[in-house]
Amino acid sequence: MGYILNEEQTNLVDMVKEFMSNEIKPHVAEFDITGEFPKKLYEKAFEMGLHCLEIPEEFGGGGVDYLTAAAIYEEIAKIDAGFSTGLCAISLALKPVLIAGTPEQKKLFSDIVVPGAFGAFCLTEPNAGSDAGSVRTTAVRDGDEYIINGGKCFITNGGVSDVYVVFASTDKSKGVKGLTAFIVERSRSGITVGKEENKMGIRLSNTSEVVFEDVRIPASNLLGKEGDGFKIAMKTLDLSRPFIGAIAVGVAQRAIDEAVKYSKQRVQFGKPIAKFQAIQFMLADMDIETEAARQTVVYAIQLILAKKPHSREAAIAKCFAGDVAVKVALDAIQVLGGYGYSRDYPVEKLLRDAKIFQIFEGTNQIQRVVVAGHLLK
């Protein structure tokens, strides 16, 4: 639906769909309630290679094209948005390495992740959310090494990763232009995982604080040059926002599927409520919005594949898909009525999962800043 894929690509997506339905779906509700990290479920996903779709084949990854990868993330998200986010976030950490890394650095990252491990993209700090330039984590050169000090928060996979890509300031006086990106292996001493967030939704993904105290890394772990950090971060987000959009579309699609199923079964006034136009129009609007959101994702990816500028389109995709996911989840609850409000049915979770897509990877307000910026150039 929505993605025009050839037979081989469809084969891959169908394989993931079957895996998610048989192996992951039966356990989602339980982990959503307890908030316990579903390590064994992720390990199964690692066996299939769902954590390294985007790592190039030469480094041991799947080397899957972006369009198929988006279709796969959407398929995973239909079963659980948190699980899809946890896997997609590994690729988020990968992107700075692909954008600015040397072949040795790409190998370093891939050798850690491919056998079956998480990576995390560490930009956000308590004082630096939308205002990414206000990062206070420092990286000080000392001979052949850098020493990193600072604390990151709201880091997806922060508590479970074996490798981090950390954005730190190498020159406070330069503000945003003083930010630099580094690969930091979890095995370095001085790294502690702090508080794990008790989240409203996407509870099958881990979101934690990560603290760096006098963490020494070799200078060879620097990505690009000192001062390249902000540019790398922005390019990364431009590449990853469409995938976040794809996950949001997955949430919306699941909401539609649940609402359609329920509306065919629920009988009131002598017939299934699906026979009433009020319900039909709600479902149709949900479907129209979701398909439109999906196509903004597909378009952004097509621009990426054509190596064209895509910053505006990535922001549109992420912003629109996030807003649609929340609205469609709300509507699905409404279609299910009282049962939609009950934790015994799967739709209230979809709203709790959907909300984050208006917040992380750049709030939808920041996305609008990006879009307005392009309009008013």
């Binding site: 081989e8 084969n11 891959l12 394989m15 079957e18 895996f19 192996e23 066996e47 299939m48 290679g49 769902l50 779709l53 084949e57 799947g62 080397g63 899957v64």
Partner: protein, 265 residues
């Protein structure tokens, strides 16, 4: 160990519907899958390969589209795949099919090595005869063990856990042998992204009647002593009275009263 697994591409009969007018299977739109028992057979073969080494070849008889089932097998651990396909084979019953498969296996062996072990699923979920595996054993004159739930290698021999209704047997067999496989304790493994992508790229060779030392009289409709005369959905009679919602003594009293009213007692 050189292992051959016979596989068949079948319609996913959990989704099958019967046309109420013609009483035949509606195949249009029904997805095709690897016959589930063949998938279990392949899983056992892969486990043997993992512990003891070896090469697994999968062989299917069918139309060109059966290659997608063979690719599925390659993505979960088979090393080689071959399709045997020819218009003249159309309409073959189990005897003709087993003859064609056996002849094909012999043709493959003449170019490579003899197979130590031939595995088949116990039956195909569309035909449900369960005959092809044992017939292949007879064509070769090999030992056969049917209804295998598990296989372990024991030196030069194999130990097969063979299922019966209320017990199981452990049968030891020498090789070469044919073993037919039921639902095992091991779920067939998933492919991985990489193995799926790799298997999609493989060119699977097709063998036809020209490549075989085969007597065409024994294939197709001509070579089929059995014929499907009719397929139909049996009528389910829903008559009878159900007594429910009462205690056993109340139910018994009601039953007695019903039976005596009907002059049965």
């Amino acid at each position: 160990m050189n292992i051959l697994v016979c596989v068949k591409q079948v319609p996913d009969t959990t989704e099958i519907k019967i046309d109420p007018i013609t009483n035949t299977l509606i195949r249009a739109g029904v997805p095709s899958i690897v016959n589930p028992f063949d998938a279990y057979a392949l899983e056992l073969a892969v486990r043997i390969k993992e512990t003891n080494g070896g090469i697994i070849t999968v062989l299917a008889m069918g139309p060109e589209q059966a290659k997608s089932a063979l690719k599925e097998c390659l993505s979960v651990g088979a090393d080689k795949a071959i399709l045997v396909s020819d218009r003249v084979f159309g309409g073959s019953d189990t005897l003709a099919t087993s003859y064609i498969l056996s002849t094909t296996i012999k043709a493959i062996e003449s170019k490579t090595e003899k197979f130590d072990l031939i595995l088949c699923g116990k039956q195909a979920i569309d035909g449900d005869t369960g005959q092809v595996g044992p017939e292949i054993a007879e064509h070769f004159g090999y030992a056969q063990v049917t209804y295998a739930e598990d296989i372990t290698v024991d030196g030069e021999n194999l130990r097969v856990k063979r299922e019966n209704e209320d017990h199981h047997e452990i049968i030891e067999t020498q090789l070469p042998a044919v073993i037919t496989v039921i639902k095992t304790a091991y779920e067939p493994r998933y492919a991985t992204i990489k193995s799926k992508m790799a298997s999609n790229k493989v060119q699977i060779p097709t063998m036809t009647s020209i490549d075989l030392d085969i007597d065409l009289e024994r294939t197709g409709l001509k070579g089929s002593p059995t014929k499907v005369k009719k397929t139909f959905v049996p009528q389910i009679k829903k008559s009878g009275i159900i007594i429910k919602g009462k205690t056993s003594s109340e139910s018994a009293l009601e039953l007695i009263s019903l039976l005596s009213d009907a002059s049965i007692i």
